[in-house]
């Protein structure tokens, strides 16, 4: 009612600014980012030491990919899941929707915060993993070309960003951290293996986890998880991830829109 309040702001930009503040003001965010970093450095160091004694030579970019897929991605999943599910753990969603009553804006705002953060996190962490592995290998293992390093870094950035958004979509639909974590992890690892063992191995590269790994490997090279080359071009891996993510976000936004808060 008085002039102490500015007249601009609000809407989607306001919702993004609000979510940005919320994201960085809880400890869970920092714990997840630190844990994911520690896991990458741990895996990079151990794998690089193994290169000095073992007989299965790998490049630093392959080691960073392994650290990202086997370990760090679970910190990313936890981070993105908690960003949404914590709204339902304490009833914070009722405050959030008072501030931003257009519900699709809340879904978009959280995605807009996670996308750049997780992309940068994936790029930086894969670079750190490759640098650490190169230093510890000390000339052992296989060399990493600039192109291979770039593919792994950009692929991991894109994969982490899309994986995080996939988690938010499922968390909006399920409203529970436990349910979301189980669903996403099953979708990433056991489900493609089960589908392959049931006689459809050609479906494996279309699951988001395997597609994401394919996006981190140079065209024509076999990825280190399934040991087969992608049946599609390099950029298609992330397009497949994006399709899964878009479907999850649409389902999540529809659920949020329909239900009473």
């Amino acid at each position: 009612m008085t002039a102490s309040v500015e007249v601009r702001g609000g809407g989607l930009p306001g919702a993004v600014a609000s979510e940005w503040t919320k994201f960085w003001s809880v400890r869970a965010t920092w714990w997840c980012l630190v844990a994911g970093t520690a896991l990458m450095l741990f895996y990079g160091t151990l794998s690089a030491i193994a290169q000095r004694v073992g007989d299965q030579p790998q490049g630093a970019h392959t080691i960073a990919l392994g650290g990202g897929f086997y370990l760090t991605q679970f910190a990313v999943i936890a981070l993105a899941t908690l960003f949404v599910a914590s709204e339902y753990a304490g009833g914070g969603i009722r405050s959030t929707l008072l501030w931003t009553p257009v519900r699709s804006r809340v879904v978009l705002a959280k995605a807009a915060v996670l996308l750049p953060v997780l992309f940068a996190y994936g790029v930086l962490l894969s670079c750190a993993g490759m640098a650490l592995a190169t230093a510890v290998m000390d000339g052992h293992g296989l060399p990493t070309t600039l192109e291979a390093g770039f593919t792994t870094a950009s692929g991991m950035g894109g994969y982490f960003a899309l994986l995080g958004l996939l988690c938010t979509g499922i968390a909006w639909a399920l409203r529970s951290a436990a349910g979301t974590l189980v669903s996403v992890i099953v979708l990433l690892v056991p489900l493609p293996l089960i589908v392959a063992s049931l006689g459809l191995p050609e479906a494996m590269p279309y699951f988001p986890g395997i597609a994401g790994v394919n996006a981190m490997v140079e065209a024509g090279q076999p990825n280190p998880i399934t040991m087969t080359a992608a049946p599609y071009a390099l950029g298609v891996g992330l397009v497949i991830c994006a399709a899964w993510t878009a479907a999850a976000l649409l389902a999540g936004a529809a659920a949020l829109h329909r239900r009473d808060a």
């Binding site: 702001g9 306001g14 809880v26």
Partner: protein, 304 residues
Amino acid sequence: MITLRGLTKRYGEKTVVDALTCDVGPGQVTGFLGPNGAGKSTTMRMTVGLDRPQSGEVLVGGRRYAELRHPLREVGALLDAKALHPGRSAGKHLLAMARSNGIAASRVEEVLATVGLSDVAGKRAGQFSLGMGQRLGIAGALLGDPGILMFDEPVNGLDPDGVRWVRQLMRSLAAEGRTVFVSSHLMSEMQLTADHLVVIGKGKLLADAPVAEFIAGNSRATVSVRVPADGERAKLDARLRAEGGLTHPGEPGELVVDGLDVTRVGDLVHELGVRVHGLAEQTASLEQAYMELTASSVEYGVSA
């Protein structure tokens, strides 16, 4: 101004809010009363778009809440003080809230000072006591300096000082011309705070009237006469009945008279020369009026 038009909410078979129509006007405190489960909270939640009505609508300042570009600058609501992330500090919670509606960050310190939480701005909200949480919720409602304020049970968990502070805050907000809509179970508190009452029971509107009118319309003032001698009391009793009064015995030695005012009863006592130990008018409280009105619409009553 909050405008409810045929507002209806059903959960499955159960109608929680039933075709509620009323206006909550500016410049006064409107108390929102009703037994547990009467639909008060659901009505408030529908007002800010958290719940969706099956039919009818509720408008704030003539528009639906979700259509407001800056809802927090037009409507401030304290619905559930625990509706926040327990790990986030009070200051950051309010800062995120301010940013969502383009409200200057300086307002955060202002409202924290208003509710007396400046010293604990950096403390995590999950560590707050019930009363502090309530104050933080009130700070949030005030953040956007809105013209419409809505409080669901605002004095829950507050100490007597806090209760008095909330009462003064409501009065001053209304005096500034704002619309203040507040639900409470505490009748004595409502009697002191509210100018106008909206009473619902089982989701239906039972009353929509100024407080004084509500009390007058839903209760009868009675007169108590204490006459120590049994014979004289019987004589007075007969005379009062002859004058059209309804009497019934109260405490030992007391007659309670309905339908005659205290002046008339006093005159009759004098006329009969009866010795009295007490003659008093008993005016009804909001609580009595409320109990009479809602007696038949208590959702979770205890059967005798």
